[in-house]
């Protein structure tokens, strides 16, 4: 590599701006890639560093504490001092075992689930709650 090329590479590195993006580890990779593509299309020199976090509450905590710059999370916000911009509305689905009697269906009606035993996660799981 020539001296000029090395100098150019160093200058590029010096100009590079890094932004951290906190994401809930279970968000679909395609969704994260779409966000990264959007950023890189408009800000090609910006480097986005992904920080995988264990739940959506932790994403909000890390942003509120200024430990990451941006976060992909869901409403409601449990931290104050945050600004949120909606980018998607997602349906709920039913998590079930592949051996479940309804698992062969392509979709399920709530009425069919009336006799089922339900499992829910508490608020401390930092997920979403349906009551």
């Amino acid at each position: 590599m020539s001296e000029k090329a090395i100098r150019n590479a160093r200058q590029t590195g010096a100009q590079k701006q890094v932004v951290t993006l906190g994401v809930f580890k279970l968000i679909l990779p395609e969704r994260i890639m779409s966000m990264l593509n959007l950023f890189s299309t408009h800000f090609p020199t910006v480097e986005i560093q992904l920080v995988k976090l264990t739940n959506i509450t932790q994403v909000q905590d890390k942003v509120a504490m200024d430990q990451v710059d941006l976060g992909m999370t869901v409403l409601p916000l449990v931290q104050e001092g945050l600004t949120a911009t909606k980018y998607a509305e997602i349906d709920y689905s039913i998590l079930m075992n592949r051996n479940h009697p309804l698992a062969a269906q392509t979709a399920v009606k709530l009425e069919q689930l009336r006799p089922e035993k339900w499992i829910d996660h508490g608020r401390e799981a930092g997920l979403f709650s349906v009551r």
Partner: protein, 84 residues
């Protein structure tokens, strides 16, 4: 209803056949071969949308870095439609 303190435990309970659970359709179950995410439909087979989850991009309201604010601003003005 059984309440568990973490999503990992919830998945384990469902894997053991102890019950079923609501979950966002956007979660990645590719690493969970014994589990599936089943869409919910109304009686007329249209998608059930009475409860939805709103995904958002967040930053601190007092964020001093203009670049961070500009990145978040990309989602306004219709650009967010490409992410849905």
């Amino acid at each position: 209803m059984q309440v568990v303190p973490s999503f990992d435990l919830l998945k384990s309970m469902v894997q053991l056949g102890k019950g079923i659970a609501f979950m966002p359709a956007s979660l990645d179950l590719s690493q969970e071969p014994t589990l599936l995410s089943m869409p919910i439909v109304n009686e007329d087979d249209t998608p059930f949308r009475e409860i939805i989850i709103e995904h958002v991009l967040i930053h601190r309201a007092d964020q001093p870095n203009p670049l961070v604010r500009e990145l978040a601003g990309l989602l306004m003005g219709g650009l967010s439609e490409s992410l849905t």
